[in-house]
Amino acid sequence: MAKIRVQYFAILRERAGRAGEEIDTVAATAGALYAELEGRYSFPALRSVKVAINDEFCPWDAPLSPGDSVVFIPPVAGG
């Protein structure tokens, strides 16, 4: 189990009902972590979301390390 700090933006924040949280997870990659949360919060499909680990956007198969800060960012269009 690794402790990961997760932050949610826009629609993900609405769905999760919180801005962020610390999660104990066995997920090895950003994508696996999203899949875990997708079920818990009924998040939208992964295609329309970007993930950043430690303030850098990365691919979904990027590995997670304990203590990482993960941000899930969907696009917004309001103006």
């Binding site: 629609i11 609405e14 499909a45 329309s48 850098e56 956007f57 960012i73 969907p74 696009p75 309001g78």
Partner: protein, 382 residues
Amino acid sequence: MSTLSRDEILRYSRHLVMPEITLAGQERLKAARVLCVGAGGLGSPLLLYLAAAGVGTIGVVEYDKVDLSNIQRQILYATSDVGRPKIEVAGSRLGALNPGIRIVPHAGKLTAANAAGIIRDYDIVADASDNFPTRYLVNDVCVLTGTPDVYASVFRFEGQLSVFDARRGPCYRCLFPEPPPPGLVPACADGGVLGVLPGILGTLQALEVIKLILGIGEPLVGRLLLVEALATSFRDIRFGKSAGCAVCGATPTVTAPVDYEAFCGIDTATGRSAAHDLPRVSVTQFLVRQRAGEAGELVDLRDTPELAIAAIPGARSLPLADLPARLHELDSARHYTLCCHRGERSVEAFYLLWKAGFRRLDILDGGIDAWAEQGDGRVARY
């Protein structure tokens, strides 16, 4: 000799004395041509600051009229402007602010047909629009014409800001290769927005535009600034050019503007038709069917704060965010008419329910807003 007049020297004196700007920098601002796509929440402060700073040519693309619900954040407009075309009001307001600059009105919508012709005449584009089709259109035409795109967008208490300049960094499509499925991301009208938030993001857009013109500082190229107003948090996330980007990658597939409504309207996962092809029922049709006992049960997908503003008697409340977890409350054999503020959330709910096996579905066209307008004067518009 400077090309600035005595009045201009006084007007811009707080710029001129700084070594990063000087007379030469102010002359660059005067010579610059900036196009602002949208004169709404973001465009209001953006245009005011660009005009105040002395950007010599400012183009404005806008088709809408001032609505009372705009004034909470669109600070270009006064209450007495309600009903007037925004482009006219913006022109006179900016002209009064700074008579020494040229405001070029582009009344109408930016389209795949006219965008390249308009953008070609500008050095920088600021995307202050409010919808995905326009954002992809602005990005693609900026990439194709080699124009920097200073981008900002807002949602509720959050904002995003970046400078897309494909000549030296990534573009919007490198970041978000495809739009979200229709209905997933509510517009300001549906999702709401804290009025001051586009004020902050639009002001930051003006900052990035001015930095680009002056060639000072570090532009937000290859970084997405995330602004979160409730925590007052700013963080920027680095990203690079995507080699496979459809418009700025090594082998682009987008070499001319495409049909952006279709691009943003089709659920590419299922290949289902565009959102406007979904079965819809007008308020009048619904009322007729209801009297005949043939209408679907109304499912109101709006959030709790909205129910307090206006509600249709007898509608079942089921906020869209809760729908996946509360699907069991609905019966797939029954006929439901989906309703939200204006119809966007109903589209996502439609797809969600369709995937879950519901087939007897339709959407109340125009949502409770249309209901308030046509069906029931006691229901407030918002």
